[in-house]
């Protein structure tokens, strides 16, 4: 990482953290789903314990089926505002021209903004993971087995981190195409449907996916996380999806860098 990239990344994060309302909104957006799901599942688990309609095992199955969707979506939520603000927002506020006039390399500018968004996305993943741990721990108070935190969290992080990087690359590239904050918001909200749709498709797919499906980002991570939640270590299966995500991230960064040198970036 070049020094310029680091300077830009730190500046973007510093500005983002000062926008308290935006941070609060993205925290709510990240945690609303998992918290709600956790509350519902824990209620069901309590009922199951008291001889309700569902068995404890069935509640655990539901948790394992639903949590992966929230985990793959979580890497797209926290960084969304920053991705828009630091690209389309800068175009709209006309500060991008001043930045480009410094002749900082376009690759370093793209990478700096990407890195800041990736940090936010990783925070989203960590928060959701904490939520998942709390949910599973809460369910374990019933008749589910004890929670092995390391066996459960490490594969999820190993699957989720490359996806958070890819999500940041996609968000920064798409938002750089937008001329205003509002336009960027429209695009990135649509982009959010991608992990949701793939996550749902994956949730309804057969338990053991065909190997080629592990090449499709989001789908692959969903499958890996689902396995980890069932206590099944994905092991070497983590490698291919990570490589795919990193390669795609590099491609998206190069695209963003080329957009930064395009004449069109200066015109509204």
């Amino acid at each position: 990482m070049s020094r310029t990239t680091l300077v830009i990344c730190c500046k973007e994060l510093r500005e983002a953290l000062r926008d308290r309302r935006a941070i609060f909104a993205s925290l709510v957006a990240t945690l609303a789903g998992p918290v709600l799901l956790g509350a519902v599942l824990m209620m069901l688990a309590n009922e199951a314990g008291e001889g309700g309609r569902l068995s404890a095992a069935a509640v655990g199955d539901r948790a394992a089926a639903t949590l992966p969707v929230f985990l793959v979506v979580s890497v797209f939520v926290m960084g969304m505002g920053l991705a828009i603000d630091s690209t389309a927002g800068e175009r709209e506020r006309q500060s991008l021209e001043t930045l480009l006039a410094t002749h900082a390399p376009s690759g370093a500018i793209a990478a700096g903004k990407w890195a800041a968004v990736a940090v936010m996305n990783v925070c989203g993943l960590l928060l959701t993971l904490i939520c998942a741990v709390v949910i599973i721990a809460g369910l374990s108070f019933g008749q589910l087995g004890p929670l092995d935190l390391a066996a459960f969290s490490l594969p999820i992080l190993a699957a989720g981190l490359p996806l958070a990087m890819l999500a940041a690359g996609l968000q920064v590239a798409v938002a750089t195409n937008a001329r205003t904050f509002k336009e960027g918001q429209t695009y990135l909200s649509m982009l959010l449907f991608l992990p949701m749709a793939i996550g749902m498709l994956s949730a309804f797919a057969r338990a053991e996916p065909a190997a080629w499906r592990l090449v499709i980002p989001v789908f692959a991570q969903h499958q890996l996380i689902a396995r980890a939640l069932r206590g099944d270590d994905p092991g070497a299966a983590l490698v291919l999806p990570a490589v795919v995500a990193i390669v795609l991230t590099i491609v998206l960064l190069r695209w963003t860098a080329s957009l930064m040198t395009n004449d069109r970036i200066l015109y509204g």
Binding site: T4, V7, E90, T98, H103
Partner: protein, 239 residues
């Protein structure tokens, strides 16, 4: 020194610049004059390396054999509203790789010189238009560039701020920098510029020292000269 040679730029069917050629020498303030839409901002964006010309090229020269450095104050005065003035200037200094050893000292010096002392630690979004221009100017000169390009730096400024900016540009010139700025305020140009370049519909209609231009065209003032050059059909005669 900034040299533009045969700059030509088209936007679709619209010809924004046509073979724009001029030189802005070191140790001088050069004014680029033009009506709205004459091509000043396009010229500056090409000179700053933000746009590519369809034809022609730009040469920048450094002083005493150093690599040429450039500072740019763009037309739009967008700032990072949640950074303080100090952080803002520091950010641009770091992007330019300026003075790594004594960065804080240089930033404090600029804040002092530009009269931003009272606002040094407030968020940039609370600044007035004049303070924004000063802030962006600080970012443009923090690395002590040989060449400085300012696109309508005084538009929207009050008299006091305008005078302060003029004084700053003169002191940069006196230290040997090449200062190129655009304006459509003739009195400003007449009092400040050593050389003027008049741009009419993307073509250099006249260039030279203000007094020499007035003598050559027999005009009483830069205002009169500018109006006569801008009148329809006069460009060909002017060339």
């Amino acid at each position: 020194m900034i040299t533009a040679r045969g700059l030509t730029k088209r936007y679709g069917a619209c010809r924004a610049l046509d073979a724009v050629t001029f030189t802005a020498p070191d140790g001088a303030i050069t004014g680029l004059l033009g009506a709205n839409g004459a091509g000043k901002t396009t010229t500056f964006r090409i000179l700053s390396g933000l746009l590519r010309a369809d034809h022609g090229d730009v040469r920048l020269a450094g002083r005493e054999g150093r690599p040429a450095t450039l500072g740019v104050l763009p037309h739009a005065h967008g700032v990072y509203g949640r950074l303080t003035v100090r952080e803002h200037i520091r950010y641009f200094a770091e992007l330019r790789g300026a003075l790594p050893g004594r960065l804080d000292e240089r930033v404090a010096q600029l804040i002092d010189q530009l009269g931003l002392g009272g606002a040094a630690d407030v968020p940039a979004r609370t600044l007035s238009e004049g303070q924004r221009v000063k802030l962006l100017l600080a970012g443009a000169i923090v690395h002590e560039p040989d060449n400085l390009i300012l696109d309508e730096p005084t538009s929207g400024l009050d008299v006091v701020s305008t005078r302060a900016l003029h004084a700053r540009l003169r002191s940069l010139r006196d230290r040997g920098a090449c200062v190129l700025f655009s304006s459509h305020v003739m009195s400003e140009v007449a009092s400040l510029c050593d050389t003027v370049v008049m741009l009419v519909d993307g073509v250099v209609a006249a260039a030279g020292a203000p007094a020499a231009l007035l003598a050559r065209y027999g005009a009483g003032s830069l205002d009169d000269l500018f109006v006569s050059l801008t009148a329809p059909g006069s460009v060909e005669g002017g060339r």
